[in-house]
């Protein structure tokens, strides 16, 4: 199995633990990832104000993966949603496709729609499978309660992303359970993390985050678990900002899924970037059997 790895702009500079742990896990699973230093911004941040530029930016990445003859594996959920959406628009709208291809031609690229875009979690779930994953684990978590955070842009709009059932998803919970950890039910599981409004309207963004954290805490979670750099930054760096500003009097640290999986597969904490968090997650390894 071979994929073109799409990291996006945030992971390599701000959420390196996600890249480290994902690579470590993929390596153990024997999935080959091909680098492409030409991949650039997915276009997500400019969707609010400039639809055409958004499609162009996304299409360029899609065209690059096609040129490599590979499907794309995306780690960030906002990148994933944005690439999926652009692919949908390009397929549906031949005049947009023509215009965009006209602009891409300058770099010798063309979007044809031959490569698929998959999120990292979907690859683990569909291409590897829960059963095979379990076989690769050497240790198991015990007595740890994990609150899975699905992430909006992968789950919705479900007719375009095709990630999972949008109202009763199971994919992420089953992946977490494969490590022996308990994936808990919590009311705000499918809600937004708040990150899209950080820097735009901080009190609103943090208000959304706060409600999730309190809800997760009340449901008894030990950790939030995510698979998106924005969610992770919001639940780690921003949560810490909220605690320091006394907007929150409790905290619920967050980890990225491949860290959990990696530990269960016997990979050491250092290779999974466990020390690169703002909030304290030092108890995590003590839940390993």
């Amino acid at each position: 199995m071979k994929f073109a790895l799409f990291l996006g702009c945030n992971i390599p500079v701000r959420v390196q633990q996600y890249e480290l742990s994902a690579r470590a896990v993929l390596d153990k699973l024997g999935i080959e990832v091909v680098e492409n230093s030409e991949f650039k911004c997915c276009g997500n941040p400019i969707r609010n104000t400039d639809n055409k530029t958004f499609i162009l930016m996304a299409a360029r990445n899609l065209a690059l993966a096609e040129k490599q003859g590979l499907d794309m594996m995306v780690l960030c959920k906002c990148c994933f949603g944005s690439l999926k959406k652009a692919a949908h628009l390009l397929k549906q709208n031949p005049s947009i496709q023509k215009e965009v291809n006209g602009m891409l031609a300058g770099e010798g690229l063309q979007y044809k729609g031959t490569s698929e875009v998959k999120h990292f979690l979907s690859v683990l779930y569909h291409d590897i499978g829960i059963h095979a994953l379990k076989e690769k684990t050497t240790r198991s978590f015990k007595g740890i309660k994990i609150a899975t955070h699905y992430g909006c842009h992968a789950l919705r709009p479900s007719d375009i992303t095709g990630f999972d059932n949008p109202v009763a998803p199971v994919l992420f919970d089953e992946l977490v359970s494969a490590t022996g950890a308990q994936s808990i039910d919590w009311p705000l599981k499918l809600e937004c993390c708040g990150a899209p409004l950080l820097g735009v309207h901080d009190s609103l963004s943090m208000g959304v985050t706060e409600r999730k954290i309190i809800d997760g805490k009340q449901a008894g979670a030990d950790y939030l678990c995510v698979a998106c750099p924005y969610c992770q930054m919001q639940f780690d760096t921003v949560q810490q900002m909220m605690v320091s500003a006394q907007k929150l009097n409790q905290s619920l640290p967050s980890i990225v899924f491949p860290q959990l999986l990696g530990l269960a597969m016997g990979i050491d904490g250092n290779s999974l970037g466990l020390s690169r968090h703002v909030l304290d997650i030092s108890r995590l390894e003590s839940f390993l059997e």
């Binding site: 997500n44 609010n48 104000t49 639809n51 709208n93």
Partner: protein
């Protein structure tokens, strides 16, 4: 006699230029950290910093960086082998010529016997090195057409001047033995272009001969905790170190946006050119300001420019500093109401809390103000004739037309986490999602586009997913935001 007069004239201009430029590093300031950093504070701070480094363990770092990055330019090699070859050819050939040939009256070269009246193979050889380097430069800039590599007048000037010096030099060597007449003419061309180059050097991009090593060395020993006065001085100096090589723009995550928007300030290398000019004058017209604001805000802070810049310029800190200065200048920036603001939100502790919200409020106001109906809650709206033109214009994503299926069940507003965040949402959001959709149906543009709800939408797609009628609520919001942003940019022109 003639030779000496021109030489001293050129040297004088060169010297004055050098003083002017170097003093500029201490005279000019840039960005929000400029306050209280006067020249009288910055010069002592620089000297203090310099001495502290020389007498510390950092000296080793300096030496390593000097050998690896200044002499052998490993940073360029890692990036682009052709460019490295080009640069090495020009640089090695030029340095050799400078020390053994241009300075041969000052430093008698015992290595080779005097050149008079015989061909000098070393001269010709190094001349050819430089010429091949120039040929690669011409090939890269004019034939290869690297995407989005911009060539400005300065780039052309340097290439032409170097080419004339080298070609006339080679012609000079080869006519030495044959024709005295030609020899003299070419000698004049050669000498005059050399002196012109010398006099103009501090003002041209060739000044990077001095400043790029200085930047590479400074950045190797400086960090966030360095004296702010020195960081300011370094950031001004870094503008002189930029060679307009285009590496940053080549790696830039958003450079492709330039192809559809056409604003050169989106490309980091072009922003550097703008800033070089900007710091000396600081005045800028409204159009220029809007362009630089858009360019500098359209940045994902991916650090690729900083990681790849061969001159070792810390573009990350420069952008952060300059971006804040630009957005605080009054004109509103619609990009601020997008996820491009995430990084600024993350770093808000480094910014002045009294100023932090101002540009956000300004952007919000300028995007919603044109649609005043939202604030006139008493007004009775006449629904006929509906604004058909508006209804039809909102159809970019081909799914927008679904607004007409809405039967006002209010599901969208019920599930919306933004609505749920407020006790009294209308007060903060103007309209709730279902009301915006209904306004679309009625074709009342001012209502649909003027509410703050649009800009406070998380784009979480809960509403869209839960709409029993298949109304693409979030996609419609995206579309309305696009339209509002376009209108705002049109009206500011």
């Amino acid at each position: 006699m003639f030779y000496n007069i021109v030489l001293y004239a050129a040297l004088t201009v060169f010297g004055i230029g050098l003083i002017y430029k170097i003093s500029g590093w201490f005279r000019f300031s840039i960005g929000i950290h400029a306050k209280n950093k006067t020249i009288s504070a910055r010069i002592p701070a620089a000297l203090k910093g310099l001495i502290a480094v020389i007498f510390s363990q950092k000296l080793g770092t300096l030496i390593r960086v000097f050998i690896m990055d200044v002499l052998f330019q490993i940073r360029v090699l890692k990036n682009d082998k052709l460019r490295w070859l080009m640069h090495m050819l020009i640089y090695a050939g030029f340095m050799f010529l400078f020390f053994t040939h241009a300075l041969d009256r000052v430093i008698p070269t015992s290595l080779f016997d005097r050149y008079y009246l015989k061909l000098n193979p070393f001269l010709l050889f190094s001349g050819c090195l430089v010429i091949s380097g120039i040929a690669i430069a011409v090939y890269r800039r004019f034939i290869l057409k690297v995407p989005r590599l911009k060539t400005n007048a300065m780039d052309q000037y340097v290439i032409i001047l170097l080419a004339i010096i080298m070609l006339s030099g080679i012609a000079l060597e080869s006519t030495k033995l044959t024709s005295y007449n030609h020899y003299q003419k070419i000698w004049y061309i050669h000498i005059l272009t050399c002196f012109l180059g010398l006099a103009y050097l501090p003002f041209s991009k060739m000044f990077h001969l001095f400043t790029t090593p200085a930047s590479l060395l400074a950045n190797s020993v400086m960090d966030k905790n360095s004296d702010p006065a020195n960081i300011m001085t370094r950031q001004v100096m870094e503008l002189d170190s930029c060679t307009h090589c285009g590496t940053c723009s080549f790696h830039c995550s958003v450079a492709v946006a330039f192809d559809s928007i056409g604003n050169e300030n989106i490309l980091p290398s072009e922003r550097m050119t703008f800033l070089k000019d900007y710091i000396t004058r600081k005045n800028i017209n409204a159009q220029g300001l809007a362009a630089i604001q858009q360019g500098i805000y359209l940045c994902t802070n991916c650090d690729r420019c900083t990681i790849n810049c061969p001159a070792g310029i810390n573009l990350r800190d420069l952008w952060f500093n300059v971006r804040e200065e630009m957005i605080q200048r009054g004109h509103s920036v619609s990009l601020m109401l997008t996820p491009f603001s995430f990084y600024r939100g993350l770093k808000q502790q480094e910014l002045d809390p009294a100023q932090y919200d101002n540009p956000l409020h300004k952007a919000e106001k300028d995007l919603t103000d044109p649609f005043e109906l939202v604030n006139k809650t008493e007004e009775i709206i006449s629904l006929t004739p509906a604004n058909r033109e508006f209804k039809e214009s909102a159809d970019l994503s081909t799914r927008t037309g679904t607004y007409s299926y809405c039967f006002t069940c209010e599901n969208c507003s019920t599930v919306c986490p933004v609505v749920g965040n407020y006790e009294n949402p209308q007060e903060y959001l103007d309209l709730l999602p279902h009301q915006i959709i209904r306004s679309m149906g009625f074709g009342v543009k001012d209502l649909a586009m003027g509410s703050r709800m649009l800009w406070y939408c998380l784009t979480c797609y809960q509403c869209q997913e839960h709409c029993p009628q298949g109304v693409k609520v979030t996609d419609i919001f995206y579309e309305l935001k696009n339209l509002a942003a376009k209108e705002a940019s049109r009206s500011s022109e």
